[in-house]
């Protein structure tokens, strides 16, 4: 029977509970945010005993639905001070779903200095003290845990950064190749570290296959859904071939590629770090340009990137990471960026926050723009070892900006702004400002409509229609994040009507319910509203729904545009029921 599994780290005990009626039809982000909103006091310290860390598979995770295997994690973020949901691939979500664990909730914190691991099986959870794995990087840890259990269990872990409770720390989720996917943003790794949990291993042996209430209908809907993913040029062809990094050249051409700590919209070295170059490099070195981050993904935007000698260097090498160390830090050597990506996965830090932080640190003079070797050294020897400089940078862009008295610090609610300049891609700027998550490009990807001509067109340099567009996309995203689907299903969903209708049909056939498209929109709205309510109570009011002032003062070349939304225009974002 589906249940809630609670682990109390103060008493080192666990409890299996029936799923409360109100949570029964929720999954993913809808569930993690509901639990956080109901059970975490908004004013609590995110690294204190009253915060909780909630893991939930999506509504369709564990079924044969394509791309449905994402794991959501939710908590109060130590980086933003607000609510946080982050999701990733890997094998954990599917195993939790097969074990009929609706949500896994970590509560409280231990008294002493010991570290623990949790091993979750069909018989429950065992809590063990950890010694040898403490201080270990994520790559080695996954190998050690697999060896300990003698089989490929799912591993959800923190690296040294999480143990040190750095605000850039993420939570890693191992994929089937023992590589790492990340619950990246908002410092969730610091929350797991504060609870002194080094890793969670999950073994779904002995569980039956998940069955749908109406298997025939499910099968038919799943077939249509998968077809729309393969038919759309973005999800069927562009993403599998070039990965997300194809965006470097697009954003560069549009003048929206934040460069040199957000002082220019184009980067001279763009073609050296572009998706096209990366694709050719991967192929030449015998890597894999196309790879799924979790079983069941048919879009497969991930890849395996080898070094010059053909040895594995990194995977899930994303546009945001490459933009961040490439354009924003002016590093033109893709191998240096790949090495940084590898180290960040191993240490367990968010690659977006870390890249934005280095851009600010370069402006501060800590290192020079373009010095990829020094980036790698600082990550390995300073952040990895927790030196004072490493702790400073491990605290994120806002912390470095304050330490050096800078004004050009690209963050919203303390979280670093990703790879699209809000001055020249205004739709995404609206969601940077308004998202309940802090600056987040996945909270309603208006880049699709502003730049990529997916889901219609809205002029990226103008204000017209942007607030409405951003809001509608954010609502849709909150709903998709609840299904367990990868957000990239939104590309076909924006253009092919059967994509969304078959997604709703799958949910209905699986649960034996009869949701409509409107119900799904209503779910997205309710998620955003409850997250917003939590944030207001946590002290993140409308005055935090703003971009840093420098965006209004410094025109961005080549279009020489500034951020010019008024507070009233932005506040209208929340005018929906």
């Amino acid at each position: 029977m589906r249940h809630i599994l609670r682990v109390n780290l103060a008493s080192l005990s666990s409890l299996r509970e029936p799923v409360p009626e109100a949570w029964a039809s929720l999954g993913g982000r809808a569930l993690t945010s509901t639990v956080v909103a109901q059970e975490v006091p908004p004013a609590c310290h995110p690294l204190g005993p009253n915060n909780k860390l909630v893991f939930a598979p999506g509504m369709l995770t564990g079924t044969p639905a394509a791309n449905s295997g994402r794991l959501s994690a939710g908590s109060k973020s130590p980086l933003t001070g607000g609510i946080k949901e982050s999701n990733a691939g890997g094998t954990a979500a599917r195993m939790l779903a097969k074990l009929e664990i609706h949500a896994l909730i970590l509560e409280g914190m231990p008294q002493g200095e010991a570290w623990y691991s949790l091993h979750v099986t069909k018989d429950g959870v065992s809590i063990q003290e950890e010694r040898d794995t403490v201080g270990m990087g994520n790559y080695e840890l996954v190998k050690v845990v697999h060896a300990r259990y003698g089989k490929p269990v799912a591993v959800v872990s923190v690296g040294p950064a999480g143990e040190m409770r750095m605000l850039t720390a993420n939570i890693s989720v191992a994929d089937k190749e023992q590589h790492l996917r990340s619950l990246g943003r908002g410092g969730l790794g610091a929350v797991m570290g504060s609870k002194r949990v080094k890793f969670i291993s999950i073994d779904d042996s002995g569980t039956p296959a998940i069955t749908s209430k109406n298997p025939e209908k499910f099968k038919e809907a799943a077939r249509i859904f998968a077809k729309t993913l393969l038919d759309h040029p973005v999800s069927g062809k562009g993403l599998p071939t070039y990965g997300t990094n194809v965006l470097v050249n697009i954003l560069n051409e549009a003048g929206g590629l934040p460069t040199r700590n957000f002082t220019q919209g184009t980067f001279e070295g763009h073609d050296k770090i572009s998706g096209e170059t990366m694709h050719d490099t991967i192929v030449a070195r015998g890597g894999a340009p196309t790879h799924p981050c979790h079983p069941g993904c048919i879009i497969r935007c991930s890849q395996i990137y080898n070094d010059q000698d053909g040895n594995y260097l990194t995977s899930g090498f994303e546009y945001e990471t490459i933009w961040g160390f490439g354009a924003d830090c002016c590093v033109e050597n893709l191998d240096d960026i790949a090495m940084a990506d590898h180290l960040m996965d191993d240490l367990g830090v968010d690659s977006i926050e870390t890249a934005v932080t280095f851009g600010v640190a370069m402006e501060a003079g800590v290192l020079s723009f373009g010095d990829g070797k020094e980036v790698v050294r600082i990550l390995r020897d300073e952040v990895g070892k927790g030196t004072p400089l490493g702790r400073l940078l491990g605290g994120g862009a806002a912390q470095v900006g304050r330490a050096y008295g800078l004004t050009r610090v690209p963050v919203v609610k303390g979280q670093g702004i990703p790879a699209y300049d809000p001055r020249s891609v205004k739709g995404i700027g609206v969601n940077y400002a308004m998202s309940t998550m802090g600056a987040d490009h996945t909270s309603g990807y208006a880049v699709a409509t502003n730049i990529l001509n997916v889901g219609g067109r809205v002029d990226p340099l103008g204000k017209d229609g942007q607030v409405e567009l951003a809001r509608n996309l954010n609502i849709a995203t909150a709903a998709i994040d609840s299904t367990g689907m990868c957000l990239f299903v939104a590309f076909p969903a924006l253009d092919i009507p059967e994509c969304l209708s078959s997604l709703v049909d799958m949910i209905n056939a699986h649960y034996g319910i009869s949701l409509t498209g409107d119900d799904v929109t209503a779910l997205g709205k309710s998620v955003l509203k409850l997250e917003r309510k939590f944030n207001l109570a946590a002290g993140l009011g409308p005055e935090q729904d703003r971009l840093p002032e420098f965006f209004c003062l410094e025109p961005l070349p080549p279009h020489n545009v500034v951020w010019d939304f008024t507070p009233a225009e932005l506040d209208a974002y929340w005018d929906f029921d």
């Binding site: 040029p233 973005v234 999800s235 062809k237 562009g238 993403l239 071939t241 070039y242 990965g243 997300t244 990094n245 194809v246 965006l247 050249n249 697009i250 051409e253 549009a254 003048g255 073609d271 998706g275 096209e276 935007c301 546009y319 490009h441 996945t442 990807y445 880049v447 699709a448 730049i451 990529l452 001509n453 997916v454 067109r457 002029d459 990226p460 340099l461 957000l487 990239f488 590309f491 080549p558 279009h559």
Partner: protein, 74 residues
């Protein structure tokens, strides 16, 4: 007139990355894409001097024109 033409992703295959090409005055964007054998339904984005542009737009000397297939990421 001289037009800088840039191609991206699979449009580069068998063609080029960037070229300065000579076209008669009054040439529209769609004539350039046609001359390169890019079918209109394959073109996801066209940018003229860093702004989105329609196929009917008439070019002028020194313009920078970029063609992309339909692509996405995030």
């Amino acid at each position: 007139m001289l037009i800088t033409v840039k191609l991206f992703a699979n449009f580069r295959v068998g063609r080029f990355v960037v070229e300065v090409r000579d076209y008669p005055a009054g040439t529209a964007i769609k004539a350039v894409s046609g001359s390169l054998g890019l079918a209109s339904q394959e073109i996801g984005m066209t940018m003229l001097n860093g702004r989105h542009a329609e196929p009917e737009r008439v070019l002028k000397d020194g313009d920078v024109l970029a063609f992309f297939p339909l692509l996405g990421g995030g």
